[in-house]
């Protein structure tokens, strides 16, 4: 006997459950969005909105505590004609470039030094990370004291070693002040590099080194042709992170030199602060801060694309 298709179809049809709120909320997409709504709204309110508002502010002449007037690109044109602005841009690039390079080379050295067998390794690793975890402002105050014009311990040691008195003025001369902030930024950021690269080093299979040694590779060749290529992805990502946060650095310079002497160490972030908060020109300050955006956007897009490829 042939079964009629209609009967079959009727049997296969599931009885519709009555709509209930809890089963609706349990559907994957609905549950996800319900769950994510509070954090997303929070981010939109306190990151998204200020970001857009900052762009709007940069197009206004807006003295603090007064209503603003729309001035178009006038703030950016003013920046472009401001010699200090260009000095600050140059400082920011010099600072970021040299500090990143030093952290990269030093971090690699630290990672290689730590990637050997010795006692108390975990304790030493923990101690080496201290500069990175201690609040920047507080360690910077210590450096301020170490480089004090009258009582600098660095100078007293140097003079003890035979340098003429009174020794270099670390924060008083433009070039030395830039040198000092770069060295202190490196001091603080190097452990992050080193420990991240160390983790990368530890994933390199020992067999590769053994094979290279059997093939007659020297120590340098093993480093150049085995270690470095395998570390490349981690070096890249750590560098991108480091560049972003060095490029937008504020604390260290604000505390140590306030951008001086004669703007020699002023960076985009500290200059935007001077104009926006110091002289209360919110619009102009916002325009200075926004000039960081193109370079940052490039880096951020670079990182996110890279992370996407990796995942």
């Amino acid at each position: 006997m042939a079964i009629q298709t209609e009967t079959l179809a009727r049997v296969a049809e599931r009885p519709r459950r009555p709509f209930s709120l809890s089963s609706w909320a349990d559907r994957g997409t609905v549950f996800s969005w319900l769950m994510m709504a509070p954090p997303i709204l929070f981010i939109l309110a306190f990151v998204g909105y200020p970001f857009c508002y900052g762009i709007w502010l940069s197009l206004e002449s807006r003295p603090v505590a007064q209503p603003g007037t729309f001035v178009g690109l006038a703030n950016f044109i003013k920046d472009a004609h401001d010699p200090v602005f260009w000095q600050v841009v140059r400082n920011t690039f010099v600072y970021t470039g040299i500090a990143t390079l030093l952290k990269m080379v030093g971090g690699l050295g630290l990672a290689l030094a730590m990637n050997q067998d010795f006692k108390l390794k975990n304790v030493i690793r923990a101690l080496l990370l201290l500069p990175f975890i201690v609040p920047t402002v507080l360690s910077t105050v210590a450096f301020m004291w170490m480089l004090d014009p009258a009582f600098s311990v660095v100078n007293r040691v140097l003079i003890g070693l035979g340098l003429p008195k009174p020794g270099p003025s670390w924060l008083g001369s433009p070039i030395l002040a830039m040198f000092s902030i770069i060295m202190i930024n490196t001091w603080r950021g190097l452990p992050f590099y080193g420990i991240s690269l160390l983790a990368g080093l530890q994933t390199v299979p020992v067999e590769l080194y053994e094979a290279a040694t059997i093939d007659g590779a020297s120590g340098w060749q093993r480093f150049r042709f085995v270690t470095l290529p395998l570390l490349q992805p981690i070096i890249l990502i750590v560098t991108l992170f480091s560049v972003i946060f060095t490029f937008a650095d504020f604390q260290l310079v604000y505390v140590l030199t306030h951008g001086g002497p004669q703007n020699a160490t002023n960076l985009l972030a500290t200059y935007a602060f001077d104009i926006g908060m110091g002289s209360g020109q919110l619009g102009l300050g916002a325009s200075v801060a926004l000039t960081m955006l193109p370079a940052l956007a490039l880096l951020i897009v670079g990182i996110t694309l890279y992370l996407r490829k990796k995942s």
Partner: protein, 281 residues
């Protein structure tokens, strides 16, 4: 490993670089500590050997704790760091869980956006945020920083947890779902208890970042009673050109101690979080 070196050469090769990095990393802390226990007569004397202390004293610590608001600042800092870390962990979990465990349209794009938001540095936002805080009438309240710190901590926690959540196998949750548990029950009862190590890592990071924060606190908190340690030290212990170096160093050391203690307890979590890829440098 194949090493063709004798024991002495080996010691030199291994320890010399390690000691070099160790000395560079710790010298400023040594200097902080030794300055904080020197009497003023030694601090500002050009004759005494600066690297040693001859007549140690706790005077600077006593002065710091009795004549300044340092203890209040410490309390403020702790309060702000703990609350903003807690908020950020909860919001971070709410963001990361669906992104890591549920397949829904747009999840990939959203995960990438979280990473992008995390990378937006504070200097890009502080001027408009200052205006927002003003309009909300939150200037000089701890609420201002408790609300704004999570702007950097939420994306950060979410990103860190996202990576962690992805490493947990799916089977337990699938079993719970088959047994009839709702998605929320599955997450709360089955999944989250498995992820405590991830929460500890994210929590310590968020806590250290909150303790370290300076820019927002500098702008929003201008009254001594609401200041955090970094801002209080910079604004009140440095008075014009007169420096109280002994007190300053005592403050720097004491301000670093809470972070260092928490860090030392969870250093393994910290390192594993650090090396999983996404930390501000």
């Amino acid at each position: 490993m194949i090493t063709g070196y004798g024991p002495i050469q080996r010691t030199v090769r291994v320890w010399l670089p390690v000691l070099f990095f160790l000395v560079v990393a710790l010298l400023p802390f040594y200097w902080m500590a030794i300055t904080s226990i020197k009497p003023n007569s030694e601090l500002y004397s050009m004759r005494a050997n600066p690297l040693l202390v001859h007549a140690p004293t706790l005077k600077h610590y006593v002065d710091l704790l009795t004549t300044t608001s340092f203890l209040l600042w410490t309390w403020n800092t702790m309060l702000v760091a703990v609350i903003s870390t807690a908020i950020s962990l909860v919001l971070g979990i709410m963001l990361a869980y669906p992104l890591a465990r549920i397949n829904f349209p747009g999840a990939g794009l959203l995960a990438i956006s979280v990473a992008a938001v995390y990378l937006v540095p504070q200097p890009l936002l502080f001027i408009p945020l200052a205006d927002v805080i003003n309009r909300l009438d939150l200037g000089n309240t701890l609420t201002s920083v408790i609300l704004t710190y999570p702007t950097m901590l939420v994306p950060f926690c979410a990103w860190l947890l996202l990576g962690y959540f992805k490493t947990v196998p799916m089977e337990l949750e699938e079993a719970a779902r088959i047994d009839g548990a709702s998605r929320f029950q599955t997450m709360r009862r089955i999944f989250l208890p498995l992820c405590t190590p991830g929460f500890i890592s994210a929590g310590i990071f968020a806590f250290t970042l909150a303790q370290n924060e300076f820019l927002y606190a500098l702008i929003f908190l201008t009254k001594s009673t609401v200041r955090t340690v970094p801002v209080g030290v910079i604004s009140e212990l440095i008075k014009g050109d007169v420096f109280y170096w002994g007190q300053l160093m005592a403050a720097a050391l004491l301000g670093s101690v809470p972070v260092a203690i928490i860090y030392s307890f969870f250093v393994e979590h910290y390192v594993s979080g650090l090396t999983s890829g996404a930390v501000k440098g």
